[in-house]
């Protein structure tokens, strides 16, 4: 599900981008200040003095894209194991120190980058940063800790399969991306995790966890001078390195409509329809964002919700989302409906997709979508954690710290023709993938029928796809 989780949170973010409204924005109309240490670490800072707190977020370009084939899950493991011991602190000591400060420290993998976050009371900053520096620069990757964490992640991957939508999302991503790394969960695969050694982790860490491959965001109750002093002291000694380029396999093209049905004894069909979407750098991002809001990203203002939930009562949740990363991500519609409504719901999804491709959106729909996207942006930066996150996002994807103030124009200028053009260009009902997880015997044809003549019987869903 990781891929989807990411896509959904991106969706939220995407839905958050804002207007020129009078936020707590500095007069210069930027999210914060940007500086660079001699070792190449770019750091961003925004003073926010409402609460006695400081938040730091470190983004390291060491995500799923950097997972070597056969070691799926290495990037995530290298991140989460930072909390499991350093050369001078055991995992237990780290946990005790953090909890005694009441601080929150997390390390997690991601598709495009790994992220370490620390939120702490200002009075405890020195102790928190000492710990942060230690886990970043001197992780131990001790064999017993690696074994323990691998066993835990493998079990949680399995446990997640009790959520039918996770089963669907995993099948969808795997079939859509093939051997491309976005096709496997951020946490990896059973086989990939089993193959990872402590040496792999040390190697990965020393290759990618480098200041010149990272972005640091600091927000909170500090002056810029205080922030600079801390950043220099804690991160200045981090040695830079040469970052190896990654060779990525191609994403296979869908040639026709593919349908995957997974039989499970449940009351609902969990459905994902979609195809490959776009990368974040694609200039069509903005038009696609507006199109997506109207189609299925805009909650009750969207056509899919109106048709499938409000008018037909077929689903509690139905939405569309896209997931633009460094590389092209998914474009997908997801919904759950009782098994016997599965075919009707999918018909309606496809009908709405065809409608938005064939007819221009109305002036009212377009203007409502624009005013939502623009007007809701300020709430993406109205708290410490959100502001730190947004700074990292705009820097990572090269949008610039003035992005929030440029965004309204990017949205405002779009026309119905732009919306129709991206719907035609990026939605491909005839070359798409449909995954349905539900109770086959309770579903009508085509999902409830057996495989057609000449159909390919899919093998075990857990089977290794990345040699």
């Amino acid at each position: 599900m990781d891929k989807f989780i990411k896509s959904l949170s991106w969706g939220l973010i995407a839905a958050l981008v804002w207007t020129g409204a009078a936020m707590a924005a500095p007069p210069s109309q930027v999210l914060g200040v940007r500086e660079k240490l001699p070792n190449g670490l770019v750091w961003l800072f925004s003073e926010q003095s409402g609460l006695p707190l400081v938040t730091l977020k470190l983004l390291v370009k060491a995500g799923t894209l950097q997972d070597p084939p056969g070691k799926e899950g290495l990037a995530n493991l290298a991140a989460v194991l930072l909390l499991s011991g350093t050369k001078k602190r055991s995992a237990t000591q780290i946990a005790q120190e953090l909890d005694f400060l009441g601080a929150k420290l997390s390390a997690a993998g991601g598709d495009d980058f790994a992220e370490v976050s620390l939120t702490i009371l200002k009075k405890d900053l020195a102790a928190g940063l000492d710990l942060l520096q230690d886990i970043l620069l001197h992780p131990a990757f001790a064999p017993p800790e690696v074994r323990r964490k691998v066993a835990e992640i493998r079990a949680s991957l399995k446990s997640d399969e009790d959520e039918p939508m996770v089963v669907a999302a995993r099948a969808f991503n795997k079939d859509l991306f093939g051997a491309f790394p976005y096709g496997h969960p951020i946490r990896g695969t059973q086989e990939g995790l089993a193959a990872i050694t402590p040496k792999d982790l040390q190697g990965f860490h020393s290759r990618y966890w480098r200041p010149n491959n990272a972005i640091l965001c600091v927000a909170g109750d500090l002056t810029q001078d205080e922030a600079r002093k801390w950043v220099t002291q804690i991160f200045g000694s981090w040695p830079e390195g040469k970052i190896p380029a990654v060779k990525l396999p191609p994403i296979p093209a869908l040639k026709d409509r593919q349908v995957v049905v997974i039989d499970k004894d449940i009351t609902q069909a969990n459905i994902i329809w979609g195809n490959l979407g776009i990368a974040r750098s694609n200039p069509d991002f903005y038009a696609l964002q507006v199109m997506n809001y109207i189609l299925g990203g805009g909650g009750f203002a969207s056509r899919l919700m109106d048709n499938i939930r409000v008018n037909r009562g077929l689903a509690y949740s139905v939405s569309s989302q896209f997931d633009p990363g460094l590389e092209a991500g998914i474009y997908a519609v997801t919904l759950e409906t009782k098994n016997r409504s599965s075919a009707e719901a999918v018909d309606q999804v496809l009908a709405e997709i065809r409608r938005i491709q064939k007819q221009p959106v109305t002036a009212a729909e377009l203007s409502d979508a624009k005013s939502y996207l623009i007007g809701s942006f300020p709430r993406k930066m109205d708290s410490l954690s959100r502001r730190a996150w947004l700074m990292g996002y705009v820097e990572f994807y090269g949008l610039g710290l003035d992005y929030p103030w440029r965004y309204p124009d990017l949205i405002q200028k779009l026309t119905p023709g732009d919306i129709q053009r991206v719907a035609e260009k990026y939605l491909h009902p005839d070359q798409s993938l449909l995954v349905v997880v539900g109770k086959k015997s309770a579903m009508p044809p085509p999902f409830g029928a057996g495989p057609r003549p000449g159909a390919e019987e899919k093998k075990d869903g857990q089977k290794k796809t990345h040699p």
């Binding site: 939220l12 207007t19 926010q48 409000v310 007007g375």
Partner: protein, 476 residues
Amino acid sequence: MMINACIGNALKSISRSRQRFLAVALACLLVSAGFSLPVAAADAGPFDHVVEHQLKNGLKVLLLREARAPIISLQVWYRVGSRNEELGKTGISHLNEHMMFKGTKKYGPKDFSRLIQKAGGDDNAFTGRDYTAYFENGPKTELTRWLEMEADRMRNLRVSQADFDTEKKVVLEERRLRTEDDPISFLQEEVMAAAFKAHPYQWPVIGWFHDIESITREEFLQRYRQYYEPNNCTVVVVGDIEPQETLKQIELAFGAIPAGPEPPKVTALEPRQYGERRVVVHREAQFPFIMMLYHTPNWQDQDAYPLEVLARILSQGRSSRLYHNLVYKQHLALDVGADYNFDHIDPSVFTIYGQPLPGKTVEQVEAALNTEVKRLQTEQVGAKELQKVKNQAVAGFYMRLDSLFYRGMLLGKLETVAKWTLIKDFVPKIMQVTAADVQRVAKKYLVADNRNVGILSPIKTEKPKMERFKSGGQVH
């Protein structure tokens, strides 16, 4: 995501909230996560400037200025939830919540959320055992309109039979999604039903499937008229407001609505339990799961604060006893936790739960959980560990206040289930908790006779079969 129903159940932290409900699920989590305040907050805290007022019609108003951005959170809290229901009609409060988006004479059935989103706002609602709440978050310039819309739907809802029938189907889909197809949620319902036999906390907030199916439009309307009235409601606004000005706007929007008759009192009280109850659920699942529910008092009892501390000793952070011992050291469990919320209208439960790792059994996890409970009863918690929990409470408080919406929820929820000023008592009372208090409440409540154990016992099934066929245009 705009999903207008979030079921606030008693054991939120073990229900795995679906990512697509991220925003709302998070909000729910926050509500149930308890809260805490630093000592300092009592005299110079963020809640020091709360403006409290009551209109003549009984409407309660709580306002908190926080001008960090030109944004507000408006929240309307009704004192009605699944606690105010009866068998055969369970889920009617939550169903009512859904119907609140179906329009009035002035705003058509599809206008409500659209108008709010059009202005850059987001709206949603959630139902719990003790409350139903509606909210709008967004630009402060919309406040007047949103107040007017909320006041309008307090009394003037219009729901056609067709809309009612369709929305019921949506709620049934919601129940399938949340419970029917989720083995741990299903277990949670079963064990709550075992723990309570005399009190309405026994049934799930979303209601039993057949009850939802059989509730009629007339029954819903009668209920709506009975509970949706100013004297059963608290309006909260947090954000970039001038409180006196906002008060005038609220008076203008809600002031003319007459007070209604007091809603019926819920008099049920769960009697003392004499002896453990165990329930087993046999369903398809990857791994087993165990949860243990102990009856405990709520905020009205002095034991509530030691119980809050107890829950944190057991499960806050990776150095907490359950994580450190069961997950880290003994490698028995994939997931463990303890959960206690003192903010219920009536006494509820203290929960301890665990999910065994592959190769480990529920019996092993149960024995290990019981060992931890026993240790709390026989040995006093050390000074450093107690201090750690108090430090976590203070830091955690500030961290949660980073969200405007959360500040509003604290006020609204506490005022609805108790009184909002509890915020000011909380930290001083947590700080007063001693090691002896913790030991005393562990001995008093975490005992076998007061325990309700639920076990998810997975049934063996064939592996899911996956097949693929080319639809070649035949699918649609």
